[in-house]
Symmetry: C2
Subunit: 429 residues, 2 copies
């Protein structure tokens, strides 16, 4: 089925800003609370949020096989379960409804009042109920930087890294949408030179600049997903800030991997940009440096040229952009990740989230974490206001943005913006 | 509120086997499919499964604050969210309904036909929707055995082990109830002496004898659970077989922990035995060998004397019991695990599952995995039929059982029984 929603020449009758992340060619999906305190599934064009539940009730999706309440839900999971064909039909239809040549909704003031919201009238929610969250470790530059700092500069990459898209399970319950603040975590750390751990607030709180893809129901227990089918099960992507506490991580992570250093929060951008919308921005990833086992051999352009940036804003101050990176730097692509994840028969369901791991580029200004940018604190970073940062400080806000741009076309993700609060103080009883 | 359901002198009017795991003092909770293909929440007394949805509709829970459909669900999550007070009211009421002195249901043949099922009339389901699954590593004997085999016999325990209830996130989507067979996983392994990995079926498939506890909604993002409150948030326990592929694990697990070696399946016993039912079997755990940080200091008897055993049954053959262990061997108790898990503010929700890690005892006949029992294959285990096992073979069935017993009282978990099938063969298209 052709993705007519991607037609680059289409314009919309909505009044939208130039160079928006959300032109009529994007049509992402999200969940929001409306001014009437109703939860609905919606999309966004320019700075309008569009209530798909209302549009469906008004008959605008007639002819597409959808249950009546498919958009009147507090998560996208059921819609995502409907599969790629349905996602395409819905995106194509939305493009038609808002096409500048289509006057049906444009000239129906009553319907427009019901369907359209400005951004200040809504509150974005987590777009999916995340059944399982996996985080990969797929940027070679990031893995090399971390290996150099914490292990051995001469053998920074571990022996399995070039053979396996290394990943581990994360915590679903602490995945939160942009805008929800996070408390600095407390925990055990081992001070340099000490033999006994101490307890207290983490002193090395960090962000990780990542993206995450969201899957549909992919396979039954026991059944691997062949790599050439993997993209059929990917609904879309979000920006992903995988908050980390480096000092807690260092003490706890051997031998079973990171746990409390990571599971206090991961923040996501609220609009899922579909894989379909990213089609024009396909690109090749890095060439494999070792021969791959057959189940990991992917063909064609399986990466995407998505420009990423991360900024830090001190309380009341202005933003400083800390780094620019790109999704295409990832050594392992999403098809490889999903094929690997299921090669043992692990089932993948609708709403599962798969993080890329920190996406660092080849140059120091493209590193995706404070750990790398400040080189574990040895090179403090100067902010616009003159202050310095080695890691994230209380009341700092971290902002990540991402967008594709080529030949005047832009498809963006908006942002994920999260404030770090001081350590949680229990209420007196 | 007193737990009258635990009255040791109570007898039931139901005809139940002597020495059953499920006397009227147990009253576990599970989910089953009835002969009429209806999903309901139920309990078990002797070899009867009891439809709580039907009991509630018939008015037997009048006076207890429950929503009408609380038991007419395909998971226990909402009931568990109702909290400890409600669980107690319901267990106490069930005990009254089936008390030998109570003739109300006993003499109502119509009601009994609706409410009571024999075990062959029902099909047990997974009792909860597992939002997040964490696996701890809390048996010192197991951690020591594994450290001795894979790292350094002189420093078998890693430096953090006596300070932290080490744990990691597992995969929720592959948690399955007893009776569902599991395919031998395929994956990458590094043969001894090789420098490049190979692909194929795992040759070292293993079980892990564990238990898991199930939580209720415990805390908001950012908010730790104090250790003295931890048990308020524990609904109950199940037997837990954490299937493992040792050869895949060895190659993949550095530095982020086990992934595909574990996430192909974990099998649970279908009846959740409540923490309340286990009250009479409280016991002290091992004494801490290092001073604990205050947030991990627990008071009183926080462990439970639960006898565990694991058996292996070859295709068509008889069972061989491989090991006897006990939940009380765990160095870290559940309160410590939950306090640690949330000390950084990680939110815990209803239906979350927390595995103990393999529970090995002090003697070689109490080890909880084939890895330890056969000492990584060096000491093959003789089965009743004369054959030998180093690890689990295709078409072997692994059976785990657990029960508390003291002074003539017994509260049991039944069993978790899982057959290992050969590698999955894709259907020809």
């Amino acid at each position: 089925m052709s993705i007519t929603a991607n037609d680059p020449n289409r314009k919309t009758w909505l009044d939208i800003p130039e160079n928006t992340d959300f032109p009529i060619q994007n049509i992402p999906f999200g969940v929001f609370l409306t001014r009437d305190d109703i939860i609905t599934i919606g999309t966004r064009i320019g700075d309008y949020a569009i209530d798909l539940g209302a549009l469906h009730q008004l008959g605008y999706f007639d002819g597409i096989p959808l249950t009546d309440d498919i958009f009147l839900q507090d998560t996208l999971n059921d819609f995502i379960s409907d599969g790629k064909k349905t996602w395409r039909l819905v995106r194509n239809r939305i493009a038609e409804i808002f096409d500048i040549k289509n006057t049906t909704l444009k000239e129906n003031q009553d319907h427009k009042t019901i369907v359209l919201f400005t951004l200040d009238e809504i509150e974005m929610q987590l777009p999916v109920l995340v059944g399982d969250y996996t985080d990969f470790y797929s940027s070679k530059e990031h893995a090399t930087n971390v290996g150099t700092m914490f292990r051995d500069p001469d053998n920074a990459l571990l022996p399995n890294w070039l053979h396996i898209p290394v990943g581990y399970h994360g915590r679903s319950s602490s995945i939160i949408p942009s805008g929800i603040p996070v408390h600095r975590p407390q925990g055990q750390t081992l001070p340099n030179g000490a033999t006994e751990p101490v307890f207290g607030p983490s002193r090395l709180v960090d962000f990780e600049l990542e993206m995450a893809f969201i899957t549909t129901d992919a396979n039954a227990l026991g059944e691997p997903i062949p790599i050439e089918e993997a993209e059929d099960y990917i609904f879309g992507l979000v920006l992903f800030n995988d908050w980390s506490a480096r000092d807690i991580q260092k003490w706890e992570y051997v031998p079973l991997g990171p746990f409390l250093a990571k599971n206090f929060a991961s923040s996501v951008s609220p609009w899922i940009v579909t894989l379909d919308a990213l089609e024009p921005f396909r690109t090749e990833g890095p060439k494999p440096e070792k021969p791959l086992l057959p189940y990991l051999k992917s063909k064609g352009k399986k990466s995407f040229d998505i420009k990423l940036e991360v900024a830090l804003q001190p309380e009341g101050g202005e933003e400083t952009t800390l780094a620019h990176s790109n999704f295409k730097y990832m050594y392992w692509n999403m098809s490889q990740q999903l094929a690997h994840h299921t090669i043992n028969g692990c089932p993948v369901n609708s709403g599962d989230m798969m993080g890329s791991g920190t996406i660092s580029g080849p140059t120091p200004d493209s590193y995706g974490s404070m750990l790398e940018l400040s080189w574990r604190g040895e090179k403090p970073i100067k902010l616009m206001d003159g202050s310095e940062r080695k890691f994230v400080e209380d009341n700092d806000t971290v902002i990540m943005r991402g967008y594709c741009e080529s030949q005047g076309r832009r498809i963006g993700f908006g942002e994920v913006k999260t404030k770090l609060l001081p350590v949680f103080q229990p209420k007196k009883k």
